[in-house]
């Protein structure tokens, strides 16, 4: 454990976050402005529809993050390099933040439009289940035991959880569905049926959210590396005594 921890800890922590802070901040402000002032008010739903400009990008980001957990888990089981485990840890945590944002913004929109905070619809249910899987993943991270054991266990869960996604999707969709279907990318056409300023706003939202995700991920990764370096240093001191 000590040998592995030192090997990865010897790499300097990534500094990309210094650049990402101003870039992500500007993009977030631009997306906020566009969603509140630039995009027109939706005819039927009214102002509450504007929450889409953050709800949808957060959902996309959640899938990207959990996709990263899957890839990093596969790579860890294959290569057994600690950096893949660090990436999986960071992506799972940040992904769960975005999943939580999706689950909070959804009901805020659902109450005025559907008349209820929550319905047991296909997409809502599968998002909740996905969130639960990764909360279990984070608990396994906390209680899973020593460094390499917890890394292996989490890699297995990361793979099982991601492979489960399409099955969860089909099972709950067959069960029932009410969530509005995809409006932007329907079969054969992209962007038809949506006001162009709305489309621009949502693209801006996606870009801003991805930048925010990249920033959070690099910061979390940096923290994880520093933490592991501290643990390795602590163990070295103890061995020398």
């Amino acid at each position: 454990m000590t040998a592995r921890a030192t090997e990865s800890a010897s790499q300097p922590p990534a500094d990309a976050w210094r650049v990402l802070v101003p870039v992500a901040a500007v993009a977030m402000l631009a997306a906020l402005w566009a969603s509140l002032f630039y995009a027109p008010t939706e005819r039927v739903m009214g102002d509450v529809q504007r929450i889409f400009y953050f709800h949808v990008p957060a959902a996309l980001t959640m899938y990207v993050a959990y996709g990263l957990v899957f890839l990093a888990s596969l790579m860890y089981l294959w290569k057994r390099q600690e950096r893949w485990d660090e990436l999986a840890t960071a992506a799972a945590e940040v992904g769960t933040v975005f999943a939580t944002i999706v689950l909070i913004t959804g009901p805020i929109w659902g109450k005025p439009v559907w008349g209820t905070w929550w319905v047991w619809d296909g997409r809502l249910t599968s998002t909740l289940v996905l969130w639960l899987i990764f909360v279990a993943y984070l608990m396994l991270r906390s209680y899973g035991g020593d460094g390499q054991q917890v890394a292996r266990y989490c890699a297995v869960l990361g793979i099982i959880g991601f492979v489960d996604l399409p099955i969860i999707h089909y099972s709950v969709t067959w069960w029932r569905t009410l969530h509005p279907g995809a409006v932007i990318m329907t079969e054969g056409s992209i962007g038809q049926g949506v006001e162009s300023s709305m489309l621009i706003t949502i693209v801006l939202g996606v870009v801003a959210t991805f930048l925010l995700f990249a920033l959070m991920l690099t910061l979390r990764l940096r923290l994880e590396r520093l933490q592991r370096r501290a643990i390795a240093a602590h163990e070295r001191v103890r061995e020398q005594r």
């Binding site: 089981l77 289940v129 639960l132 899987i133 279990a136 608990m139 396994l140 209680y143 899973g144 035991g145 054991q149 292996r152 266990y153 890699a155 297995v156 869960l157 793979i159 099982i160 959880g161 492979v163 489960d164 099955i167 969860i168 089909y170 099972s171 709950v172 067959w174 069960w175």
Partner: protein, 225 residues
Amino acid sequence: MSGLRRIACIVGKDLRSELRTKEALTSTVFFALLVLLVFNFAFDPGTRDVTVVGAGILWIAFLFSSILAMNRLMLNEREDGGIEGLMLCPVPRTSLYLAKCATLLLVLLASETVTLALFVLFFDPPLGGGLVELALVVLLGTIGLVSLGTTFAAMAVRTRTREAMLPLLLIPIAVPLLIAVVEATSAVLSGEGLGQEQKWLQLLLAFDVLFLGIGYLTFPAILEE
């Protein structure tokens, strides 16, 4: 020894030790009986249509009692260096997965048969001639639970929270399986049969094949020391 015979040896050893104490069998059957009792008070299905809530009651009894059995069988290996002994056997780790799955499946099928008989006795669902179909659904559903349960129980007993971890890992992943078995079982219990519900059987089959495959491939990574 061929691969299958090695697996049969380990299953034989596990079943022998289970039959001596009957720990997993008695605790799962008794627990399932308690679940049936609690749901009888909670829903009073005598007055309501048992076809509406029956499938749910049955599968909650199966699910919760299977969690007990999974933990029991893995905790046995933890004591007295059992798992270390198994890992020293000249058997591939992937075979250990299949052996553990087989033992768990046999124990669960035995306890589920008793639970099912008690369920029919207490709630008297209009089964019609659906017993074979019901057996098929229970078999496919149990294989799915076993494929995940073996992996997750092997992890859970080595975490700091021990057996408390297993349901947290198992239940969210098993959601599609639970939806499928409850829908299919409802169709059988109401006497309609599986004619309209083929898709749930296909989903169960896909679930079983997929997670047995992943469990088989990843088990060596869980047992590593």
